[in-house]
């Protein structure tokens, strides 16, 4: 390209490569070398449904995390929240792609993300709730990551090699997200009076949704163990889990918050349905 002279000067005097900058380079394709053929023993309908549910959860979560951009409480948290959002977005893309291979539609990731309505989304209600304050967002991330981690740990041995590989990658990511959120829940719970109050309120709101999560995937033991440990360290009170779910996002039964979230997410794509991006 004609701007090569600019890039040449960029390379000048830095021929010791990237090593001196210590930047990560180990980002590999998690599906490298894995066959996309669906094993005979796997029920395609069930596999597609699982991929879709997990993908919708991830996409909606990524969208909420993206909303924090330029609004985080400190610049370092901008970077952290974006990392987490990008992990969820990456999971959504892999899972939608797998869904399209398995459900017979051969749809691409964007068909699922941009051209389905709220009723067709299978994400849990907890994911679509507005961000609230940083305490609520951290409480939600903690619960969501702990729950999803438990699910991924199980799926890492799934008979479908693609889903198993996506889950294995997700286990590493969710472990980090859970850690990040847990640290913040402890800091806010054990911080000032104000942060303690807000953290308790955030936790109360989030735990009200645990019933829905456990109905979708029963990781009650793992999630409650994490919550007990974190709330104890944070000096917070873990509320009782309501016996019945507040709703069933998995059945397309959403709060009023999902439709506007999707309207924004899909606005440009739907305004130009013939376009390529």
């Amino acid at each position: 390209m004609s701007d090569d002279h600019v890039y040449m000067s960029l390379a000048e005097g830095h021929d010791d490569g990237d090593a001196r900058w210590a930047f990560g380079t180990g980002f590999e394709d998690p599906l490298h070398g894995i066959s996309t053929a669906v094993p005979d023993a796997v029920d395609r309908g069930e596999l597609a449904a699982t991929c879709l549910e997990l993908a919708d959860d991830a996409l909606v979560t990524a969208q909420r995390l993206a909303e924090w951009t330029t609004r985080a409480p400190e610049l370092e948290e901008e970077v952290a929240l974006a990392n987490i959002g990008l992990d969820f977005l990456g999971q959504a893309r892999l899972l939608y792609a797998r869904c399209g291979q398995v459900d017979g539609s051969q749809r691409g990731e964007d068909a699922y993300a941009y051209f389905r309505d709220a009723d067709d989304f299978r994400s849990v209600r907890l994911a679509e709730l507005p961000n609230g304050d940083f305490a609520f967002s951290m409480a939600r991330l903690l619960v969501f990551a702990a729950w999803r981690l438990a699910h991924f740990e199980q799926l890492a041995t799934h008979a479908d090699p693609v889903l198993a590989a996506i889950a294995a990658k997700g286990v590493k990511e969710m472990t980090y997200h859970r850690q990040y959120a847990a640290e913040w829940v402890v800091r806010l719970g054990d911080g000032t009076d104000k942060s303690h109050r807000r953290m308790q309120a955030g936790l109360d709101q989030v735990t009200a949704h645990l019933g829905e999560l456990f109905a979708a995937h029963d990781a009650r033991t793992a999630v409650l163990a994490v919550l007990r440990q974190v709330t104890e360290a944070a000096g917070l009170t873990l509320p009782d889990v309501p016996p019945t779910p507040v709703g069933h996002g998995r059945e397309g039964d959403h709060t009023a918050h999902l439709a506007p979230l999707l309207a924004e997410l899909q606005s440009v794509a739907r305004a130009h349905p013939e376009a390529t991006w």
Partner: protein, 328 residues
């Protein structure tokens, strides 16, 4: 008298030997490092320049950041999300460099949100369509590269090192922006119109990114003598135009300047004069989005205060508990 005052008044009476040593280091093209003696003017100029640069990265997250939630494909969403994240990272590298000069980030942030320190005028223009994301990558990151590549050889070590890292990432951003535009130009008529419209809106503000013309840029000469800056505003602007014209041809868009022609004699493109009055208005706070940009940053900072305070309070409690544990 505070330590800082003592230090800076000492600097005024610095022995000539220190000044000579500093100038000899610059003349040999060696780097000045944080603990070296340096003239106060050098330090102040650098803090101002690095802080403005850091502020620009952080405010620069906003115009594109508004499109992350609306990006029309998941691939573009991921690219844009990562790019805006990189800008936060760049801001942090630069604040880090400013802090080696004795500046305090919390103080610099206060100055930004009180409007006492500036950031690049380009980020005071609105992003009206998704094509703006591509054009910002192409023009604004392209202009930033022209500006910043020479800064990798800036005389101040921490600044130069931060710039190397930043330039590597900016070059990705520019290519991503251009690639988005190429894809859009191969798409529908509406997409091609969006691209041309964005080019029309961003071209002149991008030329203004290099600052006023050399004869109206009083600070530049000293900065160049100190090798904080390595090329004049007009040189860099010319380089950007020469670099961009063939890219525009290849893309199939028209740059909105009737005076833009190749000058065989000079071996450069001639081009029209940006509206310098507009630049001064935008710098002085009267651009289309100045107040909105600062307000967003202020709100994030103020609404985040309770979180930052809680973290400090928790750290103090932890430290006290650890001490108690050791004592017992």
């Amino acid at each position: 008298m505070t330590a800082q005052q003592a230090d800076s008044s000492a600097a005024h009476d610095a022995p000539p030997a220190l000044q000579e040593h500093f100038e000899a280091t610059i003349a040999r093209d060696q780097r000045i490092e944080p603990r070296d003696w340096m003239p106060e003017g050098y330090r102040k100029t650098l803090i101002r320049q690095v802080a403005q640069h850091a502020h620009s990265e952080i405010i620069g997250m906003q115009p594109e950041g508004e499109w992350i939630t609306r990006a029309p494909s998941l691939r573009r969403k991921a690219i844009l999300f990562a790019k805006v994240q990189d800008e936060a990272g760049h801001g942090l590298y630069l604040y880090s460099a400013a802090e080696t000069l004795g500046a305090d980030r919390a103080d610099l942030t206060e100055r930004l949100i009180e409007g006492r320190q500036k950031y690049s005028s380009i980020f005071n223009y609105p992003t009206l369509s998704f094509a703006d994301v591509g054009v910002i990558g192409w023009f604004v990151d392209g202009a930033a590269i022209c500006n910043q590549v020479p800064l990798c050889r800036s005389s101040y070590g921490p600044y130069a090192r931060a710039m190397v890292r930043i330039c590597k990432e900016e070059s990705f951003h520019q290519r991503q922006g251009y690639e988005l535009l190429m894809t859009m130009m191969r798409g529908t008529d509406a997409q091609r119109e969006m691209v041309q419209d964005a080019v029309n809106r961003w071209w002149w503000p991008s030329l203004m990114m290099f600052g006023p013309p050399d004869d109206a840029s009083p600070n530049s000469r000293q900065s160049m003598a100190w090798k904080i800056k390595r090329h004049s505003n007009d040189e860099l602007r010319q380089r950007f135009v020469d670099m961009t014209v063939p890219q525009a041809e290849k893309l199939g868009v028209t740059l909105p300047d009737p005076d833009l022609t190749w000058n065989e004699e000079r071996g450069h493109h001639d081009f029209g004069t940006p509206d310098w009055d507009e630049l001064m208005r935008v710098i002085k706070g009267d651009g289309p989005c100045n107040s909105q940009r600062i307000q967003r940053r202020r709100t994030a900072h103020e609404e985040g205060a309770w979180v930052r305070e809680a973290a400090v309070a928790h750290a103090a409690k932890q430290a006290a508990r650890a001490e108690k544990g050791t004592a017992a």
